[in-house]
Amino acid sequence: MSESLLLALLIGVAFGAALEQAGLGDARKLAGQFYLTDFTVLKVMLSAIVTAMLGAFWLGRLGLVDFSQVHVPETFLWPQLAGGLVFGLGFALAGLCPGTACIAAASGRLDGLAAALGIFLGMLAAGLAFPALEDFYGSGARGVLTLPDATALPTGVVVLLVVLAALGAFHLIARREQKR
């Protein structure tokens, strides 16, 4: 096994352990997010995004780590909008997303295995239909488009706004949890 694949394996172990410890292998917890009865999904996602975003921003700005070679996902407006809507529908039905379905399956939960099977079948079908979907798949292409590019705001301002939005969300969640 090459060094990079060993790294991939180790990263996966840490990724999986973090999700499992948070309870994100439990479909009822994830589904609870959509009924505003369990906020684990938002808490974990926002904390992770803010941590990685602040780390990349400051380590890069201070010149400690070079993140310029990191692949930023390119923007394709229409397939990402449509894909997100279809994905969200499936997420609510399954109560799990692809990573968490695998955590559920690894914890012995058969619903996780069933969701993973579905993801595989959906991916297979969509891939086989690629020749028909190809035009739509490439539509609304904007290349690497970041929020600072799109809003013409400095990166530092966007980073600050994301942090404030996350803190605001945490505050609202805490207030709601206190009332219950």
Binding site: A17, I49, M53, L77, L89, G99, G118, R142
Partner: protein
């Protein structure tokens, strides 16, 4: 019934996950992924069954020989299994709402899963590759994706209340 207290603090778990993501950027030059491993598996199956189809299909061709995501997924399964086992949570079971039977739950999971497979294919990633990885890198498309996911998720959940409540 598992109480949420059995799990670790979600903010600390999120912080740890953020550090994992940040290390992945720094050490591997990429982010985390989950649906990509499924795309890789699907393309491997097609390549085994009909090599010509996989090679000429622009989507599958891109995933042929993609091994990084597969190893990361193997790690994710191992990490999830070890974490569940060590915390005394590994158990053969089916998590479902109080009003649905096991068969309905499994059918909904397969149906929901297949929609996520289609959605992740169109969007070029899922909650890992787009929402977390692209979100923290401030990709506009990733934020568009995650907004659409939660919008549709909230709407669908209100219609599918019987599944979970």
């Amino acid at each position: 019934m598992t109480s949420s207290r059995d799990y670790a603090n979600p903010y600390w778990c999120g912080f740890a996950l953020g550090l994992v993501l940040l290390s992945t950027y720094a050490l591997a030059g990429r982010g985390l992924g989950a649906s990509g491993a499924f795309a890789s598996a699907a393309s491997g199956l097609v390549a085994a069954a009909a090599p010509g189809v996989a090679g000429s299909n622009g989507y599958f061709a891109g995933y042929l020989g993609e091994r990084w995501l597969v190893f990361e997924m193997l790690g994710l399964l191992l990490g999830g299994l070890a974490s569940a086992w060590l915390s005394g949570r590994f158990r053969l079971s089916i998590r479902r709402g109080p009003a649905v039977g096991a068969r309905t739950r499994l059918a909904a999971a397969v149906a929901g899963g297949s929609m996520m497979g289609v959605g992740a294919m169109l969007a070029r990633g899922c909650t890992s590759g787009q929402a977390l990885t692209g979100g923290a890198l401030l990709s506009a498309g990733s934020w568009l994706f995650v907004s659409a996911v939660f919008l549709a998720g909230f709407a669908a959940a209100q219609l599918a209340g019987r599944l979970w409540r």
